[in-house]
C-alpha cells in the first residue's frame, strides 16, 4: 500500500471518525465532532492537493520519460527520474540579496588623533555616542555554469563604497579556484571576515596596526587557490594585485603592487573538535606613504616612506561543541600573530622649524627599517542558543625602529600597546544580535581608556553561508 492509496485511506478513516463522533449526543462530543470535521476537510483538501500534484507529476513523467523503469512494485508512481519540485536553494533568489544593519553606542575618552603608539600613525575611529556603522548591501549569484559573482557595498552617510566586487571560478576542477576583482585577501584568519562576522565589536589591535582603520587587507587583483586532494584540509593560495591598501600605497603604474602567499591546514579532532591553522606572507610596496609625526622639539613634521613592507602572519582557530552540534553550546578559540618589516627610505619634511637643523621646507632623507610584531588571543563561549560571552587580549610590540639619519629629528615611541576586552551578546535568532562590550584600552602611551560599546547587528534577506 503506497502513496496514493494511503492518502485516500487517510481521508476515508478521517471521515469514519467524523461519523462515529456524530453518534454521541453530549456537548463535548459535538464540539469535538466539529473539530474533527474541520480537520477531516483539511485532510481531504490536502489529500486532493497531493493527488493533483501527483497526477501532474505523473503526466509530466509519461510525456517526458515514457520508458522510465519501474522495476519493483506496481502501485508505485514511475516518476522517480523527474524532479517533482522546482529547483530550490538560495538561487531561488537570483541574485541573492541581503542587507546588514549595524550600529552602536560608544562611551569612551575623547581622543581626536586616536592611533596606536609606537606604530605608523593611522587615524583611528573616535566616534562616540550613538552612530550607525557601515550598512552593507550584499548581492551575489551564479553568473553562468562557470562563474559566480558577488559585490558588497558599504553605504555611509554621503558615499557608497565598493567593499568587495569579485567573480569566482566554479568549473576549473582539480582543486583549483580563481577569484578576480576586489576582495578581502585570504591571508590570516580574520582578514576575510566582515565586521558583522566578528565576535567583538571592534577589530584586534594587530589588525589596526597592520592594515589601518579598515582592519583588513583588501586587494584589487587576482587570487589563485589550490586545495590538495588529501583527507586533511590543505590549501595553498597566491594573490597579486594593485596593493593600494595600507601598508602599501596606490601607485598608478604598470605591473603589480603586492604579492601574498599562504597555506592553510585543518581537520577534525574527534567529532567535537575542528581546527584550522595557517601561515601567510604579504609583500606590499609604498610610494610616498605619508604620516604626521613630531620632531624632537614637539613640532609637527611630515614623514614620507618609500620602500617595501613584508608581513608574516600565523593563525590558529579551534572550535568545540558537544557531539559537534554547535546549536546549544560551543566554544571558539582563535589567535593570530604577526611580524612585519618596513624597509626603505624615510624623508622628514620640515613644517615650520621641524627637522632642525635644516631650514624650514627642507627634507632629510635616509634609511628606514622597522621590525614590529603583535598578537591577540580570544575565546568565545556560547552557553545557550541565545547567549555568548567572550574574552580577548591584545598586545603589540613597537620593536626595533631604525630611523637612520632621521633618528635625531623625529620622535617614535618605544611602547607595548595592550588591550583587554570582555563581551556578552544575545541573539534572538541567527539574524539578530545585541552585544555589550567593555575594553580597557592602553594602545596609546600614557592613556588608559575604559570603553563601553553597545552594538546591534541585524541581517535581512538571503542568508549566506559563513566561513569556518
Amino acid at each position: 500500500m503506497l502513496h496514493k492509496p494511503s492518502i485516500a485511506m487517510a481521508a476515508l478513516l478521517a471521515v469514519s471518525f467524523g461519523a462515529q463522533a456524530a453518534a454521541d449526543a453530549d456537548l463535548a462530543a459535538i464540539r469535538s465532532q466539529i473539530d474533527e470535521m474541520k480537520r477531516t476537510y483539511e485532510q481531504r483538501i490536502a489529500a486532493l492537493e497531493n493527488k493533483l500534484a501527483q497526477a501532474e507529476a505523473d503526466a509530466k513523467a509519461k510525456s517526458l520519460a515514457p520508458a522510465a523503469a519501474s522495476p519493483v512494485g506496481t502501485d508505485r508512481p514511475a516518476t522517480a527520474a523527474v524532479a517533482a519540485a522546482a529547483p530550490t536553494s538560495a538561487s531561488a533568489f537570483n541574485p541573492e540579496v541581503s542587507l546588514i544593519l549595524q550600529g552602536q553606542y560608544v562611551n569612551s575618552k575623547d581622543i581626536p588623533n586616536r592611533s596606536i603608539s609606537g606604530f605608523w600613525p593611522n587615524q583611528l575611529d573616535n566616534q562616540r555616542g550613538f552612530s550607525i556603522n557601515e550598512t552593507e548591501l550584499v548581492i551575489g549569484g551564479g553568473i553562468d555554469p562557470y562563474w559566480r559573482g558577488q559585490a558588497i557595498f558599504a553605504i555611509q552617510d554621503d558615499e557608497v563604497g565598493v567593499e568587495e566586487a569579485w567573480f569566482q571560478s566554479l568549473a576549473i576542477g582539480h582543486g583549483v579556484g580563481v577569484k578576480g576583482g576586489r576582495y578581502r585577501s585570504g591571508i590570516g584568519y580574520l582578514n576575510q571576515q566582515h565586521p558583522h562576522q566578528w565576535d567583538f565589536a571592534n577589530a584586534p589591535l594587530m589588525y589596526l596596526a597592520m592594515f589601518g582603520p579598515e582592519a583588513s587587507f583588501r586587494e584589487d587583483g587576482v587570487q589563485l587557490k589550490w586545495l590538495a586532494p588529501t583527507s586533511m584540509f590543505l590549501e595553498f593560495g597566491a594573490e597579486t594585485g594593485r596593493g593600494a591598501s595600507y601598508p602599501g600605497t596606490d601607485s598608478n603604474k604598470n605591473g603589480v603592487g603586492a604579492w601574498a602567499f599562504y597555506a592553510h591546514l585543518g581537520d577534525d579532532f574527534g567529532v567535537a573538535n575542528s581546527w584550522r591553522t595557517g601561515l601567510s606572507y604579504l609583500r606590499t610596496s609604498a610610494d610616498n606613504r605619508e604620516a604626521e609625526l613630531y620632531d624632537i622639539n614637539g613640532v609637527p613634521a611630515q614623514a614620507t616612506f618609500n620602500g617595501n613592507t613584508d608581513t608574516w602572519l600565523a593563525d590558529f582557530v579551534w572550535k568545540w561543541s558537544p557531539d559537534g552540534n554547535p546549536k546549544y553550546q560551543n566554544f571558539k578559540f582563535q589567535s593570530e600573530y604577526f611580524w612585519r618589516q618596513d624597509k626603505g627610505d624615510l624623508s622628514c619634511t620640515g613644517l615650520g622649524t621641524a627637522c632642525d637643523p635644516l631650514a624650514a621646507g627642507d627634507v632629510v632623507s635616509g634609511n628606514y627599517n622597522t621590525r614590529q610584531r603583535g598578537w591577540y588571543a580570544q575565546g568565545v563561549f556560547q552557553f545557550t542558543p541565545e547567549w555568548r560571552a567572550g574574552l580577548r587580549y591584545d598586545q603589540l610590540d613597537s620593536g626595533v625602529q631604525d630611523l637612520g639619519p632621521n633618528a635625531g629629528n623625529l620622535v617614535v615611541e618605544d611602547y607595548r600597546p595592550k588591550r583587554a576586552t570582555a563581551m556578552v551578546d544575545y541573539s534572538w535568532s541567527e539574524f539578530s544580535r545585541l552585544r555589550l562590550q567593555f575594553a580597557q584600552d592602553k594602545s596609546m602611551l600614557g592613556v588608559t581608556d575604559n570603553q563601553w560599546i553597545l552594538q546591534y547587528i541585524m541581517s535581512l534577506g538571503a542568508h549566506g553561508a559563513h566561513r569556518f
Binding site: 500500500m1 473539530d35 522495476p71 531561488a92 555554469p145 586545495l227 541567527e430 566561513r467
Partner: protein, 298 residues
C-alpha cells in the same frame, strides 16, 4: 609558485583513480541510502551525525577536503544545508559537484514537498521556501529518491550502472515489505494528536496518520519560550496531545517540562540513521521510530 602549483596539479591528475566512487552525503540518511544502493562500489563520507542539527552545520575544513575528492554530493536540498553546503561546494575546487552538474544530487527534488509556505517572511521564523525539508521520515519517499539516486550513480559510473540498479531493486523489494509491516504495526497511531519540538516530523505524521497539533518552538528555528510552552500546556484541556516528540539532536529540557506538566510521555525519535543505538541503518531507523511511537501511546 604557479609552476609549483602546476606540478602538483599534474601529479594529482596522474594518480591512479580510486577504486570506489566517492560519495559525500550531507546527512546520515542519504549516506545510508547510498550504501544500500551502491554496496561495495561506493565509498561514503557522511558530513553530519544524527546528534547534529542539520540546519546549524559549519563549513569545517574537513568538509572542504572531503568535497574536493567527492564524485557525487548527495544533499537534501530545500535549503536544509543552505548555511554551509554552498560555501563548501564553491571552495572545494571540484567542478563535478557544483549544482546543476551530475555530481550534485538533491533528494528533495524527487518527492512531493509538504508544508510549502504561501508567504515568505522571516518574521515567521527560519522558513524553507521549498517546503519542509525533512523528507526522509516518509519511507515511501525513499523509493523515488533511491531510484533517482541509482540512475544518477549509473550516469556517473556507467560500468557499474547495472549494479546500482540491481542494488536499488534489492533495496526496494526489502523496503516494500518493511513498509507494509510498519504501516500495519502503526495503525493505532492514526489520528493521534502529538506535540513536536520542531516541525521535524511532518512527513512521518503524513505517512502514519498522526497529527502534530503544536510545536514547542514558537516559530521554526526559534528556541522554545516559556510562554509558548505554557500555552501548549493550557491547550491540553481542549486538544489533548498524547505525547511530545523530539529528535536526538534537540535539547530534552522543553520536552520533559511539557511531559511533566501535561502528564504525557516525552518520546525521543531517532530522526535519522544513528539517532538511537537501534537506528543503525534505514530499516532500523523506522523499526525504532514505530516502536518508540507505539510505546509512547501505551
Amino acid at each position: 609558485m604557479i609552476k609549483f602549483l602546476m606540478t602538483m596539479l599534474l601529479a594529482t591528475a596522474s594518480l591512479p583513480g580510486l577504486a570506489a566512487l566517492q560519495i559525500f552525503a550531507t546527512v546520515p540518511e542519504w549516506g545510508a541510502l547510498a550504501r544500500e544502493i551502491g554496496g561495495d562500489k561506493v565509498s561514503v563520507f557522511t558530513a553530519t551525525t544524527a546528534l547534529q542539527d542539520p540546519h546549524r552545520i559549519q563549513a569545517r575544513p574537513s568538509l572542504l577536503a572531503q568535497a574536493r575528492r567527492a564524485d557525487l554530493v548527495v544533499a537534501t536540498g530545500a535549503d536544509l544545508e543552505v548555511g554551509w553546503l554552498p560555501l563548501v561546494l564553491r571552495d572545494s575546487g571540484n567542478a563535478n559537484i557544483q549544482p546543476g552538474r551530475p555530481g550534485y544530487f538533491e533528494a528533495a527534488r524527487f518527492v512531493t514537498m509538504l508544508a510549502v509556505p504561501v508567504v515568505l517572511d522571516r518574521s515567521q521564523g527560519d522558513m524553507h521556501a521549498a517546503g519542509n525539508p525533512h523528507v526522509q521520515l516518509d519511507p515511501r519517499n525513499l523509493f523515488r529518491i533511491g531510484e533517482a539516486l541509482a540512475l544518477r550513480l549509473g550516469e556517473i559510473d556507467p560500468p557499474n550502472a547495472q549494479a546500482y540498479l540491481a542494488g536499488y531493486q534489492a533495496f526496494a523489494g526489502k523496503w516494500q515489505a518493511a513498509i507494509a509491516r510498519w504501516e500495519k504495526e502503526a495503525l493505532p497511531l492514526r489520528g493521534v494528536p502529538v506535540l513536536a519540538h520542531h516541525d521535524s516530523f511532518v512527513y512521518l505524521a503524513n505517512w502514519l496518520g498522526f497529527k502534530t497539533t503544536g510545536t514547542l518552538e514558537p516559530k521554526p528555528g526559534i528556541e522554545p519560550t516559556s510562554g509558548q510552552l505554557s500555552s501548549l500546556v493550557a491547550r491540553q484541556q481542549n486538544v489533548p496531545a498524547k505525547m511530545v516528540l523530539r529528535t536526538a539532536y534537540q535539547s530534552d529540557g522543553p520536552s520533559l517540562w511539557i511531559a511533566e506538566k501535561a502528564g504525557i510521555p516525552a518520546v525521543l525519535l531517532p530522526f535519522t540513521v544513528g539517532g538511537t543505538a537501534e537506528a543503525g541503518d534505514l530499516t532500523g531507523l523506522f523499526d525504532d521510530t514505530v516502536r518508540r511511537l507505539l510505546k509512547g501511546l501505551h
